[in-house]
Amino acid sequence: MLHKVRRQWNRNGIVYVFLVPVMVHYLIFQLIPFAFSAYLTFSNWSMVGTPKFIGLRNWEVFMTDSIAWKAIRNTLLFSAYYIVPTMVLGLILGLLINNKLKFSNFYKAAFFLPVITSFVVLSGIWRWLFKGTDYGLVNYLLGKMGIGMQLFFSNPNQALAVLAALSIFKVSGITMVYYYAGLRSIPAHLYEAARIDGSSSWNTFWRVTFPLLLPTHFYVAVVTTIGSFQIFDSAYLLTAGGPDRATTTIVYYMYDIGFRTMRLGYASVIAYVLFVIVLLISLVQKRFLGKEVSYY
C-alpha cells in the first residue's frame, strides 16, 4: 500500500502540490456553501443560532409566492432585452477595432471604459440621463424631436429596458474583447481564399467570420446569460425593484428576503431556483452553440 502511494507520489506529486490548494479552495468556497445552502432550503435560519429543520415548508411558500414568480418573469424579460443586444454590440465593436482603423487603440480604451467604471457611478449617470421629468436630459432631447415626455424608471413597461440598456453599456466593452480575440484567431488564409473566390465583404462575414466565431458566441452567450440572471445592482440602485415590482429580479428578491426579512432558508430556495434556471439555459446553449469549429 505504502509502496503504491510512494509510486503514485513520485509519478504525480507535483500535480497534487498544485491541485490541493485549488481543491481546498473549491471545497471551502464552493462545495460546502453549496451543500449548506441546500440544507438551508429545508430550514428556518436568520444567520444566528442553529438552523431549524422545517421540511418542505420553504418550497411550499415558493410555489405560491407571486412576487417570486414575478421576479423570475422579470429576469427572463431582462435577459431577452440584454443578451442578444450585448452580443451584437460586442461583435460590432470587436469588428471595428479589428479593422485597424486610425486611432483604433483609442477606441479600444473608450469602449472598454464603462467596464472598469463603478456601477454606482454609471447608475448615477443613468439616473441623470433618464430622469422621468421634462427637465431630464433624454426627455429634453426627445422633446426637441417632438416626442412626448417619458417616465422611464417610473414606467413599468420601460424601467426594465432602461436598466438593461445600462447593463449593455457597461458590459459591451468586455464582449468586444472576447470577440476581438475570436476574430484574431481566425486564420488569414481563409479571408484570402474568400477574396480570390470573389466573395463580397458581407458574404465573407456571414460565410467565414460568423460561423468560425461559434466558440466565442457560445462563451459570450453563456457569460452574458449568467450575468443577466445575476442582475442586481441597477435594480437596487435605481428603482429599488419598482415601480410596482416591475424591476424586482431574482437576485434582488433573494437579497430582500435574505437580508431585509432575514429568512435565509427561503432565500436559499430562491438561490437554488436561480441555479436550476441558469443550468438549464446553459445546457440548451451548449446543445446549439457549443459545437466544435474546424478551421480546415
Binding site: S46, M47, F259
Partner: protein, 429 residues
C-alpha cells in the same frame, strides 16, 4: 459507501453551521464587570457607526469621533476604542455577515424597526441587568420606547429625528401667501399646491422609490390610521389608508408632485435648486442648507395633518450583538456616548435631536432646532413589530400601484393588509 458519504456531508454541514452560528445563544448578557460608563472599561471595544453628516464633511465628523474617543479613553485608560464609520448602503447585510462570522462590532448603531427585528431573532442581546440602578429619567419617553421589546431593554438611544416640512419662502410670496402663516393641514396645503403648480413649480417632494416611513406611513397616521396596532394586528385596510392613498393619487395626477415621484429617491436636490414650494425632510436638509445655503429664503413649517398632526421620527440607538466579545466594555461606552456630555458633542455637530432632555440646551438660540425639538413630541418611530422592515417593500409597491392607477386606493389598502397578514404567517407571528 453512499451512506458513509452522506454521513461525511452531514457532518461537514453541521460543523459549518456550528462555526457560522458561533455556538452562541441570545441569552441576556450578564452584568459581570464594571459598566458605570467611566473608569473600568477594559480591552478592545469596536463601535460601528455611519456617516451622520453630508458629503464633504467627513473631516468634521472624524474630528467629532476623535474628541468623543479621547474623552472616553481618558476616563478608561485600559480600553482600546475603535470607532468604524461604515457606509449606510447595505448596512444590514454587512452587519449580519460580520456578526454571523463572529467578526462583528461590540456595539452598533441601528434604528427602531431593526431593534425589534434583531431582538426577535436573537441577533442583539438584552442589557436590562446592566441598567439596574442606571438613571434613565433624562431620556425622552419616546426614545426609550424604541429600545424596549417584550419587557427588556436592548440598547440606549443616541439621537432622535423629526420629519418636517421645509418651505421656499420666495415661492410662498410668489403665490401670494404669507411665510408667517404656513399651512397646518393637508387641505390648506393643497390650496397652496394648486397655486404653485400655476406658477410652474412643484408643490412638494414624494420619494416613491423608498423610505415609506417618511413619505407613506405619516399620510396614513395623519388621517387617524395605522399599519399594525400595538397588539400586532394588521389594521391598514381602513378608511384612513384609503384617504391617504386617494390624496397621494390626487397630488400626482394634479402635477403637484413630479412625474418621476413613483420611483424617485432624491427630489430634495431639486427643492434646493428652487423648483419646489416645500420639501418633506429631516434635519439632514437643515445641515445641508447651512453648509450650502440656497439662493432663496426658507424656513420650517408646521406638521401637516387633517385628523392628527403627527409625523415620522426615528430614534437612533446603540445595541450590542449577542456574540460581542466585550459586552462589559460595550455597555460602558454605550453609557458614555449616550450620556449628557457626549450627547451634546454628537448632536450639536450632527444637528440631530438628542435623546437626553438635558442635552437640548445645545440648541439655545437655534430657532430651527428648537422647532424640531417641539415637533419631536408628535413623532412616531415607524412599525415596531418583528416584520417592521419587511413592510416597506409592500407599502412602496402598493403606493406605486396607486400612482400608476393600476389599483384603486381601496384595492391597494386591501392588498396591503393581505400581504402583511401573509408575511406575519411566514414569520410565525
Amino acid at each position: 459507501m453512499f451512506r458513509k458519504g452522506m454521513q461525511v456531508v452531514v457532518a461537514i454541514i453541521l460543523v459549518f453551521s456550528m462555526v457560522l452560528s458561533g455556538c452562541s445563544s441570545s441569552k441576556e448578557v450578564s452584568n459581570t464587570g464594571n459598566s458605570s460608563g467611566s473608569g473600568g472599561a477594559k480591552g478592545k471595544i469596536t463601535l460601528w457607526v455611519y456617516p451622520y453628516l453630508g458629503d464633504g464633511e467627513a473631516d468634521k465628523e472624524k474630528k467629532m469621533w476623535d474628541d468623543i474617543k479621547a474623552g472616553f479613553v481618558k476616563d478608561n485608560p485600559d480600553a482600546q476604542l475603535d470607532i468604524v464609520t461604515n457606509p449606510w448602503d447595505q448596512r444590514e447585510p454587512k452587519l449580519l455577515s460580520a456578526i454571523s462570522a463572529g467578526t462583528g462590532p461590540d456595539l452598533f448603531y441601528t434604528n427602531p424597526d431593526y431593534v425589534v427585528k434583531f431582538a426577535e431573532k436573537g441577533i442583539i442581546a438584552p442589557i436590562t441587568s446592566y441598567l439596574k440602578g442606571f438613571d434613565m429619567s433624562d431620556f425622552t419617553e419616546a426614545s426609550l420606547k424604541t429600545t424596549r421589546y417584550k419587557g427588556q431593554d436592548y440598547g440606549l438611544p443616541l439621537l432622535q429625528s423629526v420629519v418636517t416640512v421645509f418651505y421656499n419662502f420666495d415661492i410662498v410670496k410668489e403665490i401670494g401667501e404669507d411665510p408667517n402663516n404656513l399651512p397646518k393641514t393637508w387641505d390648506e396645503f393643497d390650496k397652496w399646491a394648486a397655486k404653485a403648480k400655476e406658477k410652474g413649480k412643484y408643490a412638494i417632494n414624494f420619494h416613491g422609490g423608498g423610505a415609506p416611513n417618511i413619505y407613506i406611513y405619516p399620510l396614513i397616521w395623519q388621517e387617524g390610521g395605522d399599519i399594525i396596532d400595538s397588539n400586532g394586528k394588521v389594521i391598514v385596510n381602513s378608511p384612513a389608508t384609503v384617504t391617504a392613498f386617494t390624496h397621494l393619487s390626487k397630488m400626482y395626477t394634479s402635477g403637484w408632485i413630479p412625474s418621476d415621484s413613483i420611483t424617485s429617491n432624491d427630489q430634495v436636490t431639486d427643492f434646493r435648486a428652487g423648483k419646489f414650494l416645500a420639501s418633506i425632510s429631516d434635519s439632514t436638509l437643515y445641515t445641508k442648507m447651512l453648509s450650502q445655503p440656497p439662493t432663496f429664503k426658507w424656513g420650517v413649517g408646521e406638521l401637516l395633518g387633517n385628523k392628527k398632526q403627527v409625523t415620522y421620527g426615528t430614534t437612533g440607538s446603540l445595541v450590542i450583538p449577542h456574540n460581542s466579545k466585550n459586552k462589559d466594555g460595550a455597555v460602558a461606552f454605550m453609557k458614555y456616548l449616550t450620556g449628557s456630555e457626549a450627547s451634546k458633542t454628537f448632536n450639536s455637530i450632527t444637528k440631530y435631536l438628542p435623546a437626553r432632555k438635558t442635552a437640548y440646551s445645545i440648541f439655545n438660540g437655534d430657532k430651527t432646532m428648537l422647532k424640531f425639538a417641539e415637533q419631536s413630541q408628535h413623532t412616531l418611530p415607524g412599525i415596531l413589530h418583528p416584520i417592521g422592515p419587511n413592510v416597506n417593500s409592500f407599502a412602496t409597491a402598493e403606493a406605486q400601484a396607486v400612482l400608476l392607477q393600476k389599483k384603486t386606493p381601496q384595492q391597494a389598502a386591501a392588498d396591503f393588509a393581505k400581504e402583511l397578514e401573509s408575511e406575519m404567517k411566514k414569520e410565525g407571528q
